[in-house]
Symmetry: C2
Subunit: 384 residues, 2 copies
């Protein structure tokens, strides 16, 4: 936690109280279910049901999804978690599914409220004499179901909020994916304001990709979380790349969750398939392919978090990023907590990511410091 070598967590979520209230007011995914006495004598924690696969009608609602305790919304708990793991700064983002589900009429004001909450909480924390030296910043959220001009106006407004250092976004865009030409106006605004986009999955893959819902159900959440999430990111970024989004917007800056899904591992195969695609104009076909190499895009438009839980993945991420300067430590807090009574000890999920950084970069202290915090400080312009 030294000031000269800070540890910055750029992948750490919260549901601020206003968002918890919004979810608790809903009865379809995403929603929070508050168990009542009829659910049993020991009224359990509220349940967060955010994935379609969580909302299994064969189970009582009090057992669907996952328990949502104060870890999700409490800044005190966030700070306690940071202290326990030596994290000096957290760049908080609203957790999935953000505002994807809002009707166009309420999206802008809801986004403004949540972004203002995050700005205020960060400002108050950073100014507080009792903050123990822990700093908070935030990624804002966008009203993507609102008309593009409202999205653009919120992107511009966010630049006036001193503690908001980018935006978090899912893979649906305006509803048709991130390769939707209608997004060009939004991408132009993001690029011209130098707004970093933290791209995060939520929807995973359809159950049919895994062999059907009964196959998925056999292993709890493992297939959707371990594979569905990163594969969703992989597909979304590949679609953007193939559609020439990075050709049209060469200044776009994306930070990809979970070390890019599987993009670092598959970049070579994507490049090879593009080079061998007969339907692309470059090969005598009629379809426009991407102009720039995927490596060039990785080296100039993409940052990767280091949330990959092992050395093999992190090695590929660093190699694909082209430099240790484009990889940043994260925790995915408050997800993947210890399941037993050891909640006050160090979290396995955090330690395995830290351990991978240590293991990949033994003897390279400067590179480790960059990934653990130095890159976040310089890329996001954090004042620590």
């Amino acid at each position: 936690m030294s000031v000269s070598h800070p540890i910055v967590d750029i992948h750490t979520h919260m549901y601020p109280p206003s968002y918890i209230k919004l979810l608790a007011s809903r009865t379809t995914v995403p929603y929070i279910y508050q168990p009542t006495e009829s659910d049993g004598p020991d009224t359990p924690d509220p349940r967060l049901i955010i994935l379609a696969s969580d909302d299994d009608p064969s189970r009582p609602k009090a057992l669907r999804g996952r328990p949502v305790d104060s870890t999700y919304s409490s800044f005190d708990q966030k700070r306690a978690f940071m202290k326990r793991h030596g994290i000096s700064c957290s760049v908080i983002s609203l957790a999935n599914p953000w505002l994807d589900f809002l009707d166009p009429g309420s999206a802008l004001t809801t986004a403004q409220d949540i972004n203002n909450d995050l700005e205020r909480a960060s400002a108050e924390n950073n100014a507080s004499p009792s903050n123990d030296g822990l700093k908070l910043y935030a990624f804002g959220c966008l009203p993507l179901s609102a008309p593009p001009e409202d999205i653009v106006s919120e992107i511009r407004r966010l630049k006036t909020l001193k503690h908001v250092k980018g935006v978090i976004m899912g893979t649906t865009g305006l509803g048709k994916g991130l390769d939707d030409p209608e997004l060009d106006e939004v991408y132009s605004a993001l690029a011209s304001t130098s707004t970093l986009v933290f791209l995060h999955p939520h929807y995973g893959l359809p159950d049919s990709a895994f062999g059907g819902p009964e196959v998925v159900a056999r292993s709890g959440h493992v297939l959707p979380l371990a594979l569905g999430f990163p594969l969703e990111t992989t597909i979304a970024v590949s679609r953007m790349y193939l559609a020439g989004v990075f050709d049209r917007h060469p200044k776009l800056q994306f930070l990809l969750a979970h070390s890019g899904g599987t993009i670092p591992f598959l970049a070579g195969r994507i490049e090879s398939c593009v080079a061998h695609e007969r339907e692309f104009i470059a090969n005598g076909g009629s379809k426009q392919g991407p102009h720039r190499s995927i490596w060039e895009v990785l080296h100039s438009n993409i940052y990767l978090d280091a949330v990959i839980y092992g050395q093999p993945g992190l090695k590929a991420a660093i190699a694909a990023a082209g430099s240790v300067d484009r990889v940043m430590f994260g925790t995915d807090h408050p997800f993947f907590p210890p399941l037993g009574d050891e909640k006050d000890s160090k979290w396995l999920s955090v330690e395995s990511n830290k351990g991978a950084i240590d293991g990949c970069l033994t003897q390279e202290e400067e590179a480790k410091r960059k990934i653990l915090g130095g890159n976040a400080v310089s890329v996001l312009g954090l004042d620590l």
Copy 2:
């Protein structure tokens, strides 16, 4: 091509003449379409339509799929390709979709015929004084649509064919995936006969995973080939792992195509999601999870090919394999040929895989030699 440091291609396909004949007799996927004069004045090459997405009814059949020339079935062409790239030995496998589509009644005899063809061609080549020192071996195919006892009898018979060094298999198993308990009898036979299984994708992901058929169509074959193939392998192996197949059959040996799909990159995330899955017995739930760590399975049950077209992926593959001893060079010939007139030059697809090996292991000559051929010689027991 030196005998002391041979280059062995363990991922190289053929459609032997008997298989071409079988495909040409069909009119539904997979099939070969032989254009006629009505397709135009310059009758083009026959077309191979092997993926459901290839069979686009809005296109004339003469333009569906890909041209299939003699490269696919000619041993002379295979040898010319080997010579051009300094490959001294090819372990040939039937290309996808193998015999998955056969009715149970004809599967066993078709498998026997094809396996005998591959054995005979390899034996004849290796005994020929004019073979230029090029050796051929083969992975056999299994009659997976036949009753399990027929599959097991073919596994046993293959051990009597001197040039068959394992089997190639897709991800469907008996029709329900590789985690189907009905496969236990087959896995027992594979393990007890020490038969290496070369696992290869074919079906990819449903179009809906990519955003629908119109999204897929925008980029030719790129999404199904670059992403669908490796993600199919990833899902299939994860399902096997989660269902405890490697726990019940600790001697099973799999060689995964395309460096394991994305398993090397995602292994850490899979491990973390298993450790945090509340529904697994180990965490107080009711479902059986895997007993062994995925790293242990990677280090004792899995080999990876080096068909990954770039250093970042290969670095992850070597790291996840635990040792350079478990990674083996391959080309995916005759797929991904040069698209222009440079068919007699070195293939980009091959050179990028060789270049990745060179780039990852500069200064490590012994490790390079192992991946390029030494591992295949010792693991498969090749006589070069």
